[in-house]
Each structure stands twice: as C-alpha cells, then as structure tokens.
Amino acid sequence: MEQVIFYCFAALLLFASSMVITVRNPVRAALFLILAFFTSAGIWLLLDAEFLAMTLVLVYVGAVMVLFLFVVMMLDIDLAPLQEGFTQYLPLGIFVAALITIEMIAVLGASHFGLDIVAAPIAHPEGYSNTKEIGLLLYTIYVYPFEIASVILTVAIIAAITLTLREKKSKSQDIDKQIKVQAKDRVRIVKMEAVKKQESES
C-alpha cells in the first residue's frame, strides 16, 4: 500500500515539476509548483517527517507561493521573447538532458542505492515525535548552522529593503524651511539701465 502511494506521489511530482518549466503561462507554472510542493510534502509524510511536511505546506504553499502568484499576476510579462530560440536549442537541450538522465539512472539506480546496500529505515516506536527530534537536534548539535541561517535571513531583509527603498521626495510642507525663507531667496532683483526708446527717423 505504501509503495503504491509513493509511486503515485512520485509520478505526480515528476509531472508537476516538468510542467513548471514547460508551460508557457507563468501563472500556470506557479500553480504547478504548488502541486509539486504538495506532492513532495506527501512523500515526506511517508517518511514520518510530519513536521517538515506541514512546514512545507504552510510556509511554501501558504505564504511564499501565494506572494509569488501575486507578483506574477501583477507583472506584465511579454511571453514572445521568452520563447525565442526554443526550437533552435531544443535538440541540443534534449540531447544533454537525456545524457544526464541516463548517467544519473546508472549512478543513482537500485544497484547503488538498493535495499541490499542502504538498509530500509527502521519503523519508529509508538509515540515517536518527529517534531521533538528535530527540535532536539536543531538547538543542540546544529545550533551553529541554525544561528547562521538566522543571520542569512537578516541579511535577506536588509538587502531587500536596501534595493527597494527610495528616498522619499514628499510634497509635504517643511515648516522650518518656510519660516527661514528670506526675500533674497525668492526674489531676484535685476538692475537694468534705463534706456530711452530711440525714435526711428526715417
């Protein structure tokens, strides 16, 4: 039963991820990405990694992808230039992709990662909590990487603000400036020679 579920999810995941990169409409691509996240969350559930699965759904599907969809819908993307040269590069692309796939199957297939080489994970006892285990590891052995990850998030927000914040050029009144103003700042007095209009004689 578990195998059937795994293969269903795996097939769906492969389908969804290949659709992400092949569909023309970016909104559809984003929706397929959501499907890919859901199915990988399902696969993680099979591994007893409930916490990670739930986080994936909540954070990626719930927050990141929704924001992403908003952005994609707001942007007016001209699709024509994106597809230029697609057929031109297609044969080479298919060739390289096929080559890599064959190589990866040869290396990552059952002969190297089969059950006789890598043992199946042992079933967890009753009352096992994946969340608790992650918490125990994260705040003890992996506390240093954990802290660095938090620094990376800080940097991300600094970078995002730096790149988007423009100095505001507001139209509001600056009272100080208005009071300090003096006549010479505003009025320019130009001295002109009085010139008598010459009468044309003809």
Binding site: H112, I117, T140, P145, I148, A156, T162, L163
Partner: protein, 478 residues
C-alpha cells in the same frame, strides 16, 4: 540525550563580528544622514578588532559546536588576511562611493555580513556550515552589486551573478547530498574517516565529487564555469568589483581545501583529473581571451580566471607542498588584485570610470609614482622576478613538477608567457603613449598612501618571500 554547552570562546571573532554588524545596522537606522560615515568607521573598527582578536588567539586550535566549527592554523591565517584585505577594500572604495551617490550605511553593513560569511566558510567543519557561510557571503555580494540602481549594467550584472550563483549553490548542495548518501555523514572529519576506512561505493562517491567540483569551480570562476566573471566584474561599480574580487576568492579557496582536501582528501584520484581539466582550461582561456579585451576591468577578470587556474594547479598536486603553494598563490593574488582594482578607483572620478585601456595612456607623465606602482603590480601579475607573483607561479609549477606532471607544467609556463603580453601592454600604454588627458592626476592622501603600501608590499614580499612561504608551509597538513 545529554548535551554539553559548547566552548564558544573559540568562535569569538565570528561572534564579535556578528554583534558589531547588528550595532552598525542600528547606528545606520538611527543616525539618519550621518549613518553612512558612522557605518564606515564602525566597519573599519570591527574589522580591525576582529583581526586583533584572531591575532591574539593564534596557535590555539580546536573544534567546537559539535564539530561544525574548526579553529586551526589554516582558518586563523586566512581569517586574518580576509579581515585585513577587507579593511583595505573599504578604504579604497570610500571616495568612489561618495562620488557616485552610493555612500550609504547599508553598503558597509552588507560588507561586514559578507566578511562574516567568509570567516564562517574558512573555519567550517561541516558541509552545512560551508554551505550557509557561502550563502551568507554571496547574498550580501549580490545586493552590493545591485545597489547601484541607476546603472543598467550594474543591474544586469547583479541578475547574472544572482542566477548563476544560485545555480552553483544548487550544484554544490546536490553534491553534498550525494556525499551524504554515500558516507552517511555531513561532518568533514567523519566523511574523511569513512573514506579512509574504505568500502564505500566509489561510483556514487565520484558522482558526488563531480557536483562539488562544479560548485567550487563556479565560485572560484574556473573555466568552463567562468562566464559570469567578466560580466559581473565589468558591470559592477569598481568599488564592488574590488570587494568581490579580493577576499571572496580566498574564502572560495578555503572552501575548496576544506571540501576536497579536508573531507575528500582520501579520494583525491577522483577529483585530481577534474581539477586538471579546470586548471589547464582556465590558464589557457583566461590568458588568451584577456589579450582581446579593451576594458581593463574585463581584462583583469580574465586575468583572475588564469590566476584561478594556477591556484588549482597547486591544489590538484594533492601534496602538502602543493596546498601550501596554492595558499601562497591565493594570498598573493588577493594582494595584487587589490592593487589592480585600487588603481582603477584611483584613476576614476565623478562621471569618469577609467575602465578603458586607453585611459591609462601616458600615466607615466601624468603621475610617475602611480605609474610605477601600476608597473610593479602588472609585472607581479605577469610573474616577472623579483616580484612576488613570480614566486607564487614558481611554487605551484614546482609542486606540479614534483608529481611528474611535466606536460601541465609546460602548459603553465607557456601560458604565462602569453599572459605577459597584456600586462606589458598596459605598461607600454603608460610609459610610451601620449596622454589623452593633460591634467595631472590627483588623489586623496589616504589613497596615495594605500596604493604605495600595496605596491611596495608586492615588491618586498617578492624580495623576501621566505616568511610568508614558511607560514603557508607550516599550516599543512591540516
């Protein structure tokens, strides 16, 4: 499960730098208009004090945070150099940034965070720490390139840098996951131990190494993963180019040593052939394509690619002498690059980038002292004795000869002769061509002192390379 609180004192430099980065960030946000100046002073202070802390604790070694953090001679020396180099980088770049309305506090905050990332990479004892340090460093640099929003080329460079950098990180991460699949461990020492013990699936191991080498090659800028380098160097504001060209290469070198030598040293026969490819291609393509450039930043980018080829030459020899030679080369490279890009900053002024080769015509008449410094730097990059670049090349080629790879050594010598052409062309432009601009070249006094120290350091290290060579040799084996 028992847990002991780690000995945090070993990681004092990183912790101090993180605290200071946060203080600088607060200063920037509360001081308003004076924030940039305060951030500049604070960042210089941070780097200086961190350097002092590292210097004070030289000789102390150990691991902490359950093996995710290593403090050894290698990490201490490289961290010290990274701090010093970045101090000089910030010193060089201030006037450039002021002239282009880029003098902002955030720039310095990002610079400190980026330095923190480099330090984390250098003293990483775990694949995760290496990856996170790399991301911290790179993320800051992407933002620094993109900060010059008014410039179209800078934005384009930032996009290229970001996308290719993310791709490279993905490759590296995939390689790490494969290595984890084979060895069942992500800690560098544990990976090394399980390779020593043997009985691993070598096909999968070499498959993982392929991806690790690709990731390292991307970050170093080795051919065929070099295409981002000229575009990013040319497109970024010169101050940022200086930043991303100098210290991050040391960090990337440290990453290569930690991963390939520290973790996978026992499986060197797998990565040696790959590095030979990268190294030879980098030396040839870097030196030959540099000849065709008219933009000096682009030319120095291709020159960087060829230098990376030489650094890899030392690593691929897989001997302790080779690693020491590669480390010597990496340190010397960052010093020379600092001078080279510093000179471009010195020549530039508001509205004038000085990034064309023709801008250097007649520099010998406009300012003989600067021309002399540039001459020293160019001669050193070309590898002409008695300058330090010569010893760097000599040592890596010697390490290759020692393992009987004569043909590669011959290629290395030949390409450095080809490479000498474009370095000498700059000297010809400076001394034998008539200047296009008549006025004398003026520079602020701190910049003048800086470029002089930089040039003289290259000369003095060339005359007396012994102590630095001995230092590098004393560090290996790790």
């Amino acid at each position: 499960m028992t847990f002991e609180v780690s000995n945090m004192a070993l990681a004092l430099p990183e912790m101090f730098m993180l605290a200071m980065a946060c203080i600088t960030l607060l200063a920037v946000s509360f001081l308003g208009k004076n924030g940039a100046k305060a951030a500049y002073s604070l960042s210089q202070l941070t780097l200086a004090i961190t350097a002092i802390i590292i210097y004070q604790s030289l000789g102390q070694t150990g691991t902490t945070f359950d093996g995710t953090y290593i403090k050894d001679g290698f990490s201490d020396v490289l961290k010290l150099v990274i701090c010093l180099i970045n101090m000089l980088v910030l010193l060089y770049s201030t006037s450039y940034l002021k002239a282009r309305d880029l003098f902002k506090g955030e720039y310095y905050v990002l610079a400190i965070f980026s330095t923190l990332g480099m330090m984390i990479m250098v003293s990483a004892g775990h694949f995760l720490t290496i990856y996170l340090g790399l991301e911290l460093m790179s993320l800051c640099m992407y933002a620094m390139v993109a900060m010059y929003r008014d410039s179209f080329v800078a934005t384009e460079a930032a996009m290229k840098y970001f996308i290719l950098g993310a791709l490279a990180s993905g490759m590296l991460l995939y390689g790490m996951s494969i290595i984890y699949g084979v060895t069942g461990n992500l800690s560098i020492s544990a990976v090394s131990a399980s390779i020593q013990a043997g009985s691993l699936d070598n096909t999968v191991l070499s498959f993982g190494i392929v991806f690790l080498v690709i990731g390292i090659g991307f970050k170093l800028g080795a051919v065929p993963f070099h295409m981002w380098l000229p575009d990013v160097y040319q497109g970024s504001p010169t101050a940022v180019t200086l930043f991303i060209a100098a210290a991050p290469k040391i960090a990337a070198f440290a990453m290569a040593i930690r991963l390939l030598v520290g973790g996978l040293g026992g499986a060197y026969e797998y990565w040696q052939d790959m590095l030979i490819m990268l190294s030879v291609l980098s030396m040839i393509i870097g030196n030959v394509v540099a000849i065709a450039q008219t933009n000096i930043k682009r030319m120095l980018a291709y020159s960087t690619i060829s230098h990376i080829g030489f650094i890899l030459l030392g690593v691929l020899s897989a001997t302790q002498e080779g690693y020491a030679a590669a480390m010597f080369y990496a340190l010397v490279y960052s010093l020379m690059t600092l001078g080279g890009f510093g000179m471009i900053i010195l020549m530039s002024r508001q509205g004038f980038e000085a990034d064309q080769l023709d801008d250097y015509k007649g520099l010998g008449r406009r300012n003989p002292w600067f021309a002399l410094m540039m001459l020293i730097l160019m001669f050193s990059m070309a590898g002409i004795p008695p300058l330090v670049g010569f010893y760097a090349k000599l040592m890596v080629i010697k390490s290759i000869v020692d393992i009987n790879m004569l043909s590669i050594a011959i290629v290395a010598v030949l390409v450095s002769v080809i490479g000498a052409f474009y370095y000498l062309r700059i000297i010809k432009l400076m001394y034998f061509d008539a200047p296009e601009q008549k006025q004398l070249l003026e520079a602020p006094s701190d910049m003048r002192v800086m470029i002089s120290i930089n040039g003289i350091a290259v000369l003095m290290l060339g005359l007396f390379p012994g102590s630095l060579l001995a230092l590098c040799a004393s560090i290996f084996p790790l």
